[in-house]
């Protein structure tokens, strides 16, 4: 995949602040896309591989946290950075627990903001990648029949053909046939690859905004 220019969505109801942030991001060669209302943003934005959103916390209408919920519900790979005029600790903690990448206070220094954005963009790329892989796996798994699926599960567990035949009550020969079909359909060369593929997608957190507390 070619690296596209990153997209940074900015949502702030104060037009002058919106303008200045847009300028700043442009000067840093990030692709700012401004929105003056959360509703507009929800309707019009489209997530890409390399994107994040900078949200003003105190806006009329949908408040920042409700917006956070709405975004994560719709779009699991979009990282959120909050900007707020108040140092509101409870709100900040809440936001971060729900998966915001960062919570910054206004007026915001360009280094701080850009660092946070780059971190978010990295997260976005990673999440995007994971999503692609998941989709890929789903696609491949979709090619298998039920029986083949069952055999695959057994293979991953490390069972020998003989054991698989016994578990599934089929002949060993049938097992071998299924095995070959699984490898072919899923386009894999070795069992190790299979294990790695399934293991990776199953162990990776499915979205960016999973609970990060230990």
């Amino acid at each position: 995949m070619s690296s596209s220019r990153p997209t940074v969505f900015i949502v702030d109801d104060d037009p002058r602040v919106l303008k200045s942030l847009t300028r700043l991001l442009r000067s840093a060669d990030l692709g700012p896309v401004p929105f003056s209302s959360p509703e507009e943003f929800l309707v019009q934005h489209a997530a890409t591989r390399d994107c994040c959103v900078v949200l003003d916390l105190a806006m009329p209408g949908l408040n920042g946290l409700q917006l956070q919920e709405a975004i994560t519900a719709r779009d699991e790979t979009l990282p959120i950075i909050f900007l707020s005029g108040h140092a509101n600790i409870p709100a900040a903690v809440d936001a971060l627990r729900r998966g915001a990448v960062n919570f910054l206070t206004k007026p915001v220094d360009d280094q701080t903001l850009l660092a946070a954005i780059h971190e978010a963009l990295e997260k976005s790329r990673v999440a995007w990648q994971a999503k692609l892989e998941r989709e890929d796996l789903q696609a491949r798994l979709g090619l298998l029949t039920n029986r083949e699926r069952e055999v695959m599960d057994e293979i991953i567990l490390g069972k020998l053909n003989k054991q698989i035949a016994g578990d599934l009550a089929i002949s060993e020969k049938t097992v071998k046939v299924h095995r070959a079909r699984v490898m072919r359909k899923m386009d894999l060369m070795s069992v190790a690859e299979l294990v790695r593929l399934v293991g990776r997608t199953e162990n990776r957190p499915p979205s960016v905004s999973e609970n990060q507390s230990g």
Binding site: S20, L24, S27, G85, K106, P107
Partner: protein
């Protein structure tokens, strides 16, 4: 003897007249009394006459005092009672004058053409009294006629005085007069026409009248004396009452500038106990700053006839300043047509000082409350300052980055700088608004569009509302009439009402906390502002108490917000009250007069 009495009375009343020229009654009375004395003298002489010739001459001159008597009696009655038909009086005077003239034109006298002889009769003490015998003149009849006329005249006077409500006087004088005139008539007819032989005894009759009059006049003198002492006593009481109430009484005679004052006025104005007080002296005591207004008030009162009511400072001594409240009325003295102002002065220094002190305290309280409000709005305040600061910082840093690139676009940088300047000004305006709120509260009146002010204020408090999870709605009538007021104070009032509504809704379980601000034209003269919340409502017994200063149901806060609102609304000529809503919460109503409508 009778003569002596008359002369004495006459002398007394002559003296009274000399003393009080305006009293014609007294003069006429003395003349009358004197003439009765003369009549008595003549009668005596006729009684002692030896010869008819003597008698004739005496009789002739007898008519002079008779004329004086009749005329003075008639005119006395008129002067004393103030009534009596003028034409009758002149008629009687005319008749008697005719008699007198005829008397002297005739060869002998008026009564008799000829006195033939004298009869002598015995009187009580063995004295010899002469009684005339002769032929009476035809025009003698004029005598009794004049007496009858006089009788009619007196009856008329008596009746009028009785009806006027002075029965006592009319009976005394009138009664005497009637009785004795009748005697005189009877006597004159009987004697002259020879029915009865007896000497002239007119004087006796008129003596009776004189006595009656004298009695009345003396009573008047006595009454006057009594009145005078009653007046002094009354004056004394008024002075006492006025001093006790610390009221000064004064009467200013506009024409000559003199002012009669009670002692209390002297004390208030620092006048000495004895100095003659003039209006200039009073004016000199008044504080120069207050003098123009006082002069204006006086002129207006004199010109329009409206009451005079004003307050001013008086420097009764270089170190002492007193506040005086003066009220007065201009009127015309009935006695001499002078224009006067009569009034009172009250020393209100204590009250005034208290007023000034409490006004100062109220101002201080308002300022404190504003400071407190500002504290409550710290969230909004910080936000209002933060936004421009954020924009400035990001803009400046963006400019730095642009300039660091090759082929920097200078026009973009110029735009950025312009924006920075604008944002800086924005921040400055917010700060100066804050400074105005904290200032000492000078009032600037201007025309205000309340709808626009509400919108501005809501924007200002927006972030605090959101922190409290409060929704704000407006129902502002388009083309709302302007009001006259101080913008800062009006904004303060709106902010306080909003804060109050927020407090009412904090901690409640309602899903949606909502404030609705509505403004509409209520009538030709007023607009109404209503701030409605969905909070706990107000217990009915507290609907008025909540406006008291330092009343609060919350743990924090000073309870000043609503009291300050009331003060502001009242200062703008409006009304503020609260009512519970039918469904949930309460509404605060503000009535304000429209600019330009009559207050």
């Amino acid at each position: 003897m009778a003569a002596a009495v008359c002369l004495a009375l006459g002398a007394v009343h002559m003296m009274i007249w000399l003393w009080q020229r305006s009293s014609w009654a007294n003069l006429l009375f003395s003349i009358c009394a004197a003439s009765v004395a003369a009549v008595a003298g003549f009668e005596l002489a006729t009684m002692r006459a030896e010869t008819p010739e003597q008698y004739t001459v005496l009789l002739r001159w007898f008519h002079v005092p008779l004329w004086v008597l009749a005329v003075s009696l008639v005119w006395f009655m008129r002067a004393y009672f103030g009534v009596g038909r003028l034409w009758l009086a002149w008629l009687i005077t005319g008749v008697r004058t005719t008699i007198l003239v005829i008397n002297f034109l005739a060869r002998t006298n008026f009564n008799y053409r000829v006195i033939s002889e004298l009869h002598f009769i015995q009187w009580a003490h063995g004295e010899r009294i002469a009684v005339p015998v002769g032929t009476p003149n035809l025009w003698t009849v004029l005598g009794p006629i004049s007496l009858i006329l006089m009788f009619v005249y007196f009856v008329d006077i008596t009746r009028t005085v009785w009806r006027r409500g002075d029965p006592e006087r009319s009976v005394i004088v009138g009664g005497f007069a009637w009785f004795f005139i009748l005697c005189a008539i009877a006597q004159s007819v009987l004697v002259v026409w020879g029915f009865v032989r007896m000497p002239y005894f007119f004087s006796f009759c008129f003596l009776g009248i004189i006595l009656g009059m004298a009695y009345e006049l003396s009573r008047d003198v006595h009454r006057v004396g009594g009145l005078s002492s009653a007046l002094r006593e009354s004056e004394g009481r008024i002075d006492f009452a006025a001093s006790a109430a610390e009221l000064g009484l004064w009467v200013w005679n506009v024409r000559d500038g003199n002012v009669w004052v009670t002692n209390e006025v002297r004390r208030q104005f620092g006048l000495s106990d004895t100095e003659q007080v003039t209006i200039d002296r009073i004016m000199r005591a008044i504080h120069p700053e207050d003098l123009p207004a006082v002069r204006q008030e006086i002129e207006r009162a004199l010109r329009d006839g409206t009451p005079y009511d004003t307050q001013y400072r008086v420097t009764s001594s270089p170190s002492e300043v007193r506040w005086i409240h003066a009220r007065a009325d201009a009127h015309t003295n009935w006695h001499n047509q002078d224009v006067q102002m009569r009034g009172i002065t009250v020393d209100v220094t204590e009250r005034k000082l208290t007023e000034l002190e409490s006004a100062r305290q109220r101002l201080e309280l308002t300022r404190l409350s504003r400071a407190a409000t500002l504290g409550e709005l710290s969230g909004s305040l910080a936000h209002e300052l933060n936004q421009p600061l954020t924009a400035i910082l990001s803009n400046a840093q963006a400019a730095q980055r642009f300039l660091a690139q090759e082929n920097a676009d200078l026009s973009e940088v110029r735009e950025i700088l312009a924006d920075i300047v604008e944002d800086d000004r924005r921040a400055g305006k917010v700060l100066s608004n804050v400074r105005m709120l904290l200032k000492h509260g000078e009032v600037n009146r201007e025309r205000i569009d309340l709808a626009e002010l509400v919108r501005d204020t809501l924007h200002f408090v927006q972030s605090d509302l959101m922190n409290g999870n409060v929704w704000a709605k407006t129902e502002l009538q388009a083309d709302l009439p302007l009001i006259n007021g101080d913008r800062v104070q009006m904004q303060q009032m709106i902010i306080n009402l909003i804060i109050n509504a927020c407090h009412a809704m904090s901690g409640t379980d309602t899903v949606r906390n909502e404030i609705t601000i509505a403004a509409s034209k209520l009538s030709d003269k007023e607009i109404q502002l209503a701030v409605r919340d969905t909070g706990r409502g107000i217990p009915p017994e507290n609907l008025e108490r909540i406006f008291e200063p330092l009343y609060t149901t919350r743990a924090e806060g000073m309870g000043l917000g609503l009291a300050v609102c009331r003060t502001i609304v009242k200062a703008h000529g409006g009304k503020l009250w609260a009512a519970n809503n039918d469904d949930v919460g309460a509404t605060f109503y503000v009535l304000l007069p429209i600019a330009g409508s009559a207050a």
